[in-house]
């Protein structure tokens, strides 16, 4: 769009949220047995997509379908669009089969963000389960890059088995820092595993943060979110300082189609990140 009488340079038209822009596959990296990380770069003529931690994109495999995927890359490096995906359906399996140089359509970024700016000066408690670590990773990048702005930083991660641990190398790096507390547990293991076994909520009980001055961000299966929130409340946190990322069947991603409706909310537009106190009552409703 231009401003005809202003005499200034034309302003680039905002991308149409319904129009996928072509991106090129830079890398497909295997993470676990069924999970992979897709790195995309803009095709010539396409713009990088700056994003905030917590947002998602719609990835379109031409001729197959479109899926909502949380962005799991570094928000300070928007030129690389990174998504970690579990191959479970036709479209995600098609994404898994892509090779370097193939094209993908991208719409986004969409949705609300994790409250990393509002959390300045407070302890950060990140609780992730399974592939829920992927939408949390941009927060980790951001918080560690701006470490002085936060109090204690705690990352609690639960996976199914040791083989299902996502970003194992980065977890080791983060744990090796002296300014972050990283705890990993798995639900089941053989005796070769030297780490913790048990549910992620158990880690909350003994985690070193100040509940009166902490912001929690939870991502994982809904049952885990409920139990993790309860464990945080037991530690003395309020539901106003707990934020969760919800997963629903996003289609249009702009709050028009209603596929992702959750009570009075559209997860694509009002979420996926919600303050827990806003949606806690909906967790008990089977109809939604």
């Amino acid at each position: 769009m231009t401003t005809p009488d202003s005499g200034t340079a034309p302003v680039a038209a905002p991308p149409d949220p319904m129009w996928p822009e072509p991106f090129e596959v830079r890398q497909v990296a295997r993470e676990t047995g069924d999970t992979f990380t897709l790195t995309l770069v803009p095709k010539v003529g396409s713009q990088p997509h700056p994003f905030a931690p917590g947002q998602f994109n719609m990835l379109y495999v031409f001729g197959v379908g479109e899926v909502p995927i949380s962005i799991s890359g570094d928000p300070d490096r928007p030129e690389l669009l990174v998504h970690t995906i579990r191959a479970v359906g036709a479209t995600t399996r098609a994404l898994q089969k892509l090779k370097r140089g193939d094209q993908v359509g991208v719409r986004g970024p969409f949705g609300t963000r994790w409250p990393v700016d509002q959390a300045h000066g407070q302890d950060i408690v990140l609780v992730a389960g399974g592939i829920g670590l992927a939408p949390i990773r941009p927060v980790v990048y951001h918080v560690l890059r701006h470490r002085a702005l936060y109090g204690r930083v705690v990352l609690l991660y639960g996976a199914r088995t040791p083989h299902d641990i996502l970003y194992a190398r980065e977890l080791r790096d983060w744990r090796g820092r002296f300014d972050a507390e990283v705890e990993v547990t798995v639900d089941r293991a053989t005796i070769e595993w030297q780490g913790g076994v048990g549910v992620v909520t158990k880690l909350i009980q003994r985690s070193p943060f100040d509940p009166s001055s902490a912001v929690a961000m939870i991502c994982g299966p809904e049952v885990m979110i409920r139990f993790a929130s309860l464990a945080l409340e037991k530690r003395g946190m309020t539901t106003a300082s707990i934020h969760v990322s919800m997963e629903r069947n996003m289609k249009c991603a702009v709050g028009l189609c209603g596929h992702c409706q959750l009570g009075p909310h559209f997860v694509c537009k009002d979420g996926p990140v919600f303050r827990y106190e806003r949606i806690e009552p909906l967790f008990g409703l089977r109809e939604v």
Binding site: G89, T190, V197, K202, R206
Partner: protein, 157 residues
Amino acid sequence: MTIQSFEKVLAEHPFFKGLRPEHLDTLVGCAANVRFTAGDFLFREGQRIDHFWVIREGKVTVEVFVPNKGEVTIETVEGGEVLGWSWLFPPYKAHFDARALTHVRALSLDGACLRGKCEKDTVLGYEFMRRFNQLIVERLEATRMQLLDLYGDDDAR
């Protein structure tokens, strides 16, 4: 390294937080310092158990042997937690193996001694039962969550 009194160690342990001083005194009379090196068994399945362990430092795995699978770790218990409740209920036999995964420092509490004291002092007995019930409820909740297999295929995103 400073040597702390049993009383201080117990009073600062999360499991005993808020316990009355006279009850802490009672506990101290039943406590002993123990250490395990990695690989040592604290107890084996089927063994009579007359103790429980207040883990101060290190990590213990609770395991079960499954034919054709070998040993499977059910959970790990770490510093700040308590291990063992078989001492509370007849026939006082361990249901699982417990093995030190790392060097472990703990207090071992004599359950037979404590059972007798709890019978005589019902306030202490109630307090103990309340705390162990809470522990058992937490472990039950955790087990239920593990049974749900939360991170299976339904967790696709």
